[in-house]
């Protein structure tokens, strides 16, 4: 299709019509439209007045704008709570995943453990398990430990879900780290843990940030555990709370507030993507391809 290298188009340019110089911009525009349109439509809906939202034919360029739907969200629902809950659960589980995963990755990269291959294979397979396979067993754990409506019921599974990626990405990072550093640290009298904390950790911060961002995104987006283990309204996370927004009756669906909720719930992630695009791509590819 469009894989042929630069120089082809240059030679084609002399031979009349250059299809490639037309196809590429069109393809780029299509990609951008495809990716942005649904999000932008939801953003537009969220600031339209009710009359325009339910207008037939649809209003594409509204004359009136309103923040009423956003105000409703905060007035009728504990929406700040939802946002804070999501943020807290995602942040705590990310820190836990990094705190447990990074040392494990170091050990798997550097210290000759028996059973290393088995552990790595297990970690890899586990990344393919959909959460629906786990929720029944976890429900039992949550009941036995009476963790229902407790953030731990989300933080621990989310950390576990993010552990495989953390271990794989960090392990490949540690393997690229020059061994001399640690050897000279040992000569200086550091033990393994001391070497880790004082020499390796500072060098590791960029890789930790990369995996941390991915872990945060995964945790923020999780649905089924949040739906099952948290039932108290004030403790719900954004995805679950937004999906349960309803009107007074089935016939009265609050399109405006729903759109506003999706905008607010996706905004933090849009910002993350804007600022950390490079890290996200790097983390995703090294996490998946190393497997």
């Amino acid at each position: 299709m469009t894989t042929f290298p630069e120089s082809v188009s240059k030679s084609q340019r002399s031979s009349g019509i250059n299809w490639r110089s037309l196809i590429l911009p069109i393809a780029v525009i299509l990609v951008v439209l495809f990716c942005l349109a649904p999000v932008l439509w939801q953003l537009l809906t969220s600031v339209k007045v009710n009359q325009d939202i339910s207008a037939v034919p649809s209003v594409y360029f509204p004359r009136r704008f309103t923040l009423e739907h956003y105000q409703q969200l905060f007035a009728r629902r504990p929406f700040w709570n939802y946002l804070l809950n999501s943020f807290f659960v995602a942040a705590a589980s990310t820190l836990l995943a990094l705190g447990l995963g990074a040392p494990a990755a170091y050990a798997l990269a550097r210290l000759r453990l028996q059973g290393e291959r088995v552990i790595l294979a297990g970690v890899l397979i586990v990344t393919l398990f959909p959460p629906i396979l786990l929720f029944l067993g976890l429900l039992r754990v949550v009941q036995v430990l009476s963790l229902g409506d407790n953030y731990l019921a989300l933080v621990l599974p989310y950390a576990a879900i993010n552990l495989p990626l953390t271990i794989l990405v960090m392990r490949s990072f540690f393997e690229q780290l020059p061994r001399d550093l640690e050897d000279s640290a040992k000569v200086d009298g550091y033990n393994t843990v001391g070497t880790l904390l004082n020499i390796v950790l500072p060098l590791t911060l960029p890789a930790l940030a990369t995996t941390g961002i991915l872990a945060f995104i995964t945790a923020w987006n999780e649905f089924i555990f949040a739906l099952t283990f948290i039932t108290r309204e004030s403790m719900k996370t954004v995805p679950v709370a937004a999906s349960q927004l309803g009107g007074a009756s089935i016939f009265e669906i609050p399109y405006g507030p729903i759109a506003a909720a999706t905008v607010l719930g996706t905004l933090p992630l849009v910002l993350l993507v804007l600022f950390f695009q490079r890290q996200i791509i790097q983390g995703l590819t090294s996490g998946a391809v190393k497997g």
Partner: protein, 302 residues
């Protein structure tokens, strides 16, 4: 002698470092799966007043007679096949576009990973609105183009509803495939194309003879990940259609969820988990076999 002691101490520290992560992984992944195997041998539902009664393999026997189970298996297969198929084609196309050099490529790449990063449940709300039968933009565009005369009830028609959730899933996860394939494309040396062209190959020939074989490991990995995720799809469908209309979009995971949470039939729910798990592992094993082969081949070409 001293070296042995050092190695031993290293190992002990190593295990201490691995153990916390390992315990959490075992607790969250291994325990629930093992528990499901065990629980699937018992009857525990409203009929037994939620106490466990050992019934052997009767839950599995019941599954063979359960039309709804087979229906959801079929729905899951249809959803998985079509969404992964279209995601792959689109994802490959997007990756090829993003691999070209053009102005503003950085921004386009950022835009192109956006759908992947956004919460599925919220995106499902956006798509529900887009496919709305009265005010939805899809109907509006089709009406304006004169392709239809009255609005279509997308999420209320069995076939169209399946199409709609597949479309939404394709939108959401195409970026994942294109990111992985783009990384693969970038690792293919330009020299190979150069040499191939000097030999008189057309762009289509070099795509088939160089790009595809060298990209095969990434393709298999991307498809494997996407297969597993699509097979266990829950949030997108739960929010968009709730499995409806009339169970037309109910996938296995939605069936498992309502078996456990609505009908409180824990034993049968566990059996459903076990069967889904075994199917998944089977496919993974087959894919791993192909991955090893394609990797060996790709190495051969390099």
């Amino acid at each position: 002698m001293t070296k042995d002691i050092i190695v031993q101490r290293e190992r002990r520290v190593g295990w201490l470092l691995v153990l916390p992560a390992l315990l959490l992984l075992l607790g969250v992944f291994a325990y629930p799966i093992g528990q499901a195997f065990w629980q699937s041998l018992f009857n525990q539902n409203l009929g037994t007043q939620l106490t466990s009664e050992f019934t052997g393999l009767s839950n599995y026997a019941r599954m063979t007679q359960d039309g709804r189970f087979w229906q959801t298996m079929w729905n899951t297969s249809v959803f998985t096949f079509f969404s992964v198929f279209f995601e792959f084609l689109l994802g490959l196309g997007v990756a090829l576009v993003l691999n070209q050099s053009f102005r503003g490529r950085g921004i386009v790449r950022t835009v192109a990973i956006l759908p992947w990063a956004l919460p599925t449940a919220l995106i499902a709300l956006a798509w529900t609105w887009i496919f709305n039968d009265q005010y939805g933009i899809v109907n509006d565009i089709l009406l304006r183009l004169g392709l239809i005369q009255t609005g279509i009830n997308w999420l209320g028609n069995p076939t169209l509803a399946m199409g709609a959730v597949i479309f939404a899933d394709v939108w959401k996860t195409t970026p994942f495939i294109s990111i992985l394939l783009l990384a693969g494309l970038q690792s293919i040396s330009e020299d190979l194309y150069e040499a191939h062209r000097i030999d008189g190959a057309s762009p289509w020939q070099s795509f088939r003879q160089i790009t595809l074989p060298l990209l095969m490991p990434q393709i298999v990995i991307a498809l494997l990940f996407r297969f597993a995720q699509a097979f266990g799809i829950f949030d997108l469908i739960a929010v968009m259609t709730g499995g409806g209309p009339g169970g037309a979009t109910e996938t296995v995971s939605l069936y498992i969820y309502s078996t456990v949470m609505r009908y409180l039939d824990f034993g049968y729910g566990a059996a459903l988990v076990v069967v889904t798990f075994v199917l998944l592992i089977l496919v993974v094993a087959i894919a791993a076999f192909f991955l090893n082969r394609s990797r060996a081949k790709a190495r051969g070409v390099n």
